[in-house]
Symmetry: C2
Subunit: 155 residues, 2 copies
């Protein structure tokens, strides 16, 4: 991809960002803080244990969250996330290792917010940062509720 | 409990609040936004399906999070939360029904932040609100990671 095309692609990607908890104006402003990333089919974004640096908002494609099992080389898909969702929120907040392995089977387009950029956002635009955090907390809280339901289904 | 005692008890409870993600100064400021609640041994704080209005920070005692199973009247404890933790974060963000039933076996002391108060906090003190949201998101994200590990352990 040539530079000019890459720039156009990234601008378009930013325009396609959707985030259920923000108004269109807030989403557009958030998008200007994000970096673009294209993921090839089959590509692993990060592995459990990798040092992490930010959250990825999914604009197109799907992302699989894989958790290792007690069998070597066998993992289960614990979540399948699509456009409007995000992955890696833990790393937005704290230097840490990745909990899970994350990959895309069919490829995906992502917008990435690094911890460093987020800290700047929280400093410069705290009200937008609060809204973003609210939306993310709501989403992760809902995922936790679903995980509890699935756990209870084993009993 | 007489009114004067109740006031003293609540003041002391606020001083005992601890929240790992905030500085002592931020914790003290947050505490001033919270209402006190005492939970009797065996008391159910809320049931799955109740309309909800806020998050409860646990100052003393333990809180059980119960998820119904497919057997009538049989639930499993999916989380056990103690001092420094919180429960009900979903309701801070959105008018909703409670996902889970929450109770205390031995009794507990809580500090409660209602959605209405939180909205005021986000308006008046957005930087403190961001820090609070960050801490809560980190905690819920870690709980989700643990739930995924437990799910993977079934395979």
């Amino acid at each position: 991809m040539e530079m000019a095309d890459a720039g156009n692609w990234c601008e378009k990607l930013r325009e396609e960002l959707s985030f259920h908890f923000l108004t269109p104006e807030e989403t557009a402003e958030l998008a200007s803080w994000l970096d673009c990333r294209s993921v090839a089919p089959g590509e692993v974004l990060w592995r459990q244990g990798d040092v992490c640096a930010g959250v990825a908002f999914i604009v197109s494609g799907q992302i699989e969250v894989r958790q290792p099992t007690s069998f070597p080389d066998k993992s289960v898909i614990v979540a399948l996330l699509g456009p409007g969702s995000f992955v890696g929120e833990f790393c937005l907040l704290q230097e840490s290792e990745r909990f899970v392995t994350v990959a895309s089977r069919e490829g995906a387009e992502l917008l990435v917010l690094s911890r460093r950029r987020f800290e700047q956002l929280a400093q410069d635009r705290p009200r937008l940062a609060v809204r973003l955090m609210q939306g993310m907390l709501l989403t992760v809280s809902r995922r936790l509720g679903q995980a509890y339901e699935r756990l209870a289904a084993f009993f």
